[in-house]
């Protein structure tokens, strides 16, 4: 049935609500004024200049980028074998394993962050690289496992069976046939886990300190204190970066499929 004009209208309103914040961030980030005023009193690049010369935010950016790279590498490394097992092997407790690996995504990051603070603080691991990596892997690993499972499941089983027939051991077949065929999915998983870690705010809020802090935390604290177009310029930069990543994932495996639960 063709959608009625009423459905189109309501759907357009829904999409407007979803897309409006991004559109406003775009406009306000180029403001020449001193506040988040709409319409801006004029347009300029001054707040982007201010952003890229802001030492605190730029050093937090470097930390976040490095952290996200390390976290996504770790998540893929430990997540891929687990995903292969869930997608390909038949063994007792497979469903339980899949549920266990997804469990952290079910709980609020606020509670996860608090728990990590309570056990890491006495060990002096707050505001350290190992502490932040541990906290971020908590959300990155389930993500990596979920996307890699979808990617492995999409590779026809017959390919691996053919390799066995031709004399390859199961390990060799998995590494030389299934893994290369699942490579686009693996890259998509890497990109998404990078983004998940790069944007992670709430867990980080509990685990950062003056010694080591991340970009989302500094952004949150900045927005709590003041709202000037500098923060909009930062928000815009993050939105553009996220959209680029989404476009990459869309090309590799389809974004909706990567994010979907089934």
């Amino acid at each position: 049935m063709r959608p009625s004009w009423m459905l189109r209208l309501f759907a357009a309103f829904g999409l407007l609500v979803l897309l409006a914040p991004g559109a406003l961030v775009l406009v306000v980030s180029f403001s020449a004024g001193d506040f988040l005023t709409f319409p801006p009193p004029g347009f300029s690049l001054r707040w982007y200049e201010a952003l890229f010369t802001h030492a605190g935010l730029m050093s937090a950016l470097a930390t976040s980028a490095l952290l996200a790279a390390a976290v996504s590498a770790l998540a893929l490394l430990v997540g891929a074998p687990a995903a292969y097992a869930i997608a390909r092997l038949d063994f007792p407790g497979r469903g339980v394993l899949a549920t266990l690996l997804m469990a952290p995504l079910l709980l609020p990051t606020l509670v996860l962050g608090l728990g990590l603070l309570l056990v890491l603080q006495p060990l002096g691991l707050v505001a350290t690289w190992p502490g932040l990596m541990l906290g971020h892997s908590l959300v990155a690993i389930p993500f990596a496992v979920r996307i890699m499972t979808t990617a492995f499941a999409a590779v026809p089983k017959e390919l691996e069976a053919a390799a066995w027939t031709l004399g390859a051991t199961p390990l060799r077949a998995a590494l030389r046939v299934t893994l290369p065929n699942a490579a686009p999915g693996a890259i998509a998983a890497g990109v998404l886990t990078f983004l998940v870690s790069f944007d992670e705010t709430v867990i980080s809020l509990f685990l950062v300190g003056p010694r080591l802090t991340t970009l989302p935390v500094e952004m949150f604290r900045y927005a709590e204190r003041t709202t000037d177009p500098l923060i909009a310029a930062l928000a815009m930069s993050l939105i553009v970066f996220a959209l680029l990543m989404v476009a990459v994932v869309e090309r590799l495996m389809g974004f909706t499929r990567a994010m979907g639960r089934d």
Binding site: L18, V27, V111, L205
Partner: protein, 278 residues
């Protein structure tokens, strides 16, 4: 067996990052906070008792539930037409439409709230329109209050609702709606008498997911509330990091977890029921 072996590294990291902190959280919730505010190792349910007897906490729980419940309902109501549109769209448009609705999931929540500040603030888009048209003399306070928090929360919950609804509506047979139309029902009648009842399990599932996420939301109440809106999540954060009262923060977090587990069990039951009917 080889399956568990392959998953062992992932399980090991998660045990360290998940089970250990959760055990620590529970243990510390049983400690005692002394008069001076120091933490004393103990095995007592004092912190829980204090919370349950506290008028302010009871109000906080109620406010949190009302905020999350209403925001989840509005989010589902706004997400339904989007999901129906994705379903009705031609294959060429289906992907881009779904992508537009879900892409916000990967955009930093703080970044999107900055956009809302530019829309809802005293010098923002809506007030510029209202005052420009002469509809209002003074700015309409849409931010730093419950209204702002609710609007921000609705938007952040919508993509999740769209995801659940797309999955749920996909199982719904379009021939039933076509049959209603053939039998003479108009668009509106078909929607209310056929589509909506069939979509009810998916709507309930989407609302429950949005409710769970809304109850534990922290960034939105904090930024859009301007420090004037208090919910469970902001209280846990303040107890842990502002007042450094770990037993109180842990006990409150345990209570929150208990409530969420109940809601998730309910969600699983709904999913089972909906799955059995499809």
């Amino acid at each position: 067996m080889i399956g568990w072996l392959l998953a062992a590294p992932a399980l090991a990291v998660l045990a360290l990052a998940f089970l250990w902190p959760m055990a620590g959280l529970f243990r510390i919730s049983l400690n005692r906070t002394t008069e001076t505010g120091a933490m004393e190792t103990a095995l007592t349910t004092e912190s829980y008792g204090k919370l349950l007897g506290d008028e302010f906490i009871r109000e906080l729980v109620w406010n949190t539930l009302v905020l999350a419940g209403s925001s989840a309902a509005i989010a589902v109501a706004l997400a339904l037409p989007v999901a129906l549109m994705v379903r009705a769209a031609s294959p060429r448009w289906r992907g881009p439409l779904a992508l537009m609705a879900i892409a916000p999931l990967l955009v930093s929540g703080t970044a999107r709230l900055i956009g809302w500040m530019a829309i809802l603030g005293d010098n923002g888009l809506i007030n510029a329109l209202l005052m420009g048209l002469g509809l209002r003399e003074t700015p309409w306070p849409l931010i730093n209050n419950w209204t702002g928090v609710r609007i921000g929360l609705v938007e952040s919950l919508m993509p999740y609702a769209v995801l659940v609804l797309i999955a749920g509506l996909g199982r719904l047979d379009p021939r039933l709606e076509e049959a209603a139309a053939t039998l003479g029902a108009g668009r509106v009648r078909t929607f209310f008498r056929v589509t909506l009842p069939l979509a009810a399990p998916a709507l309930l599932a989407a609302w429950l997911l949005a409710l769970v996420l809304g109850i534990s939301a922290f960034i939105t109440p904090r930024l859009m509330g301007g420090g004037r809106v208090f919910v469970l999540a902001t209280e846990i954060y303040d107890q842990a990091l502002e007042y450094v009262n770990w037993p109180a923060a842990s006990a409150l977090a345990m209570l929150l977890l208990g409530g969420l587990v109940l809601l998730m069990l309910l969600r699983a039951a709904v999913a089972k029921f909906a799955g059995g009917r499809a």
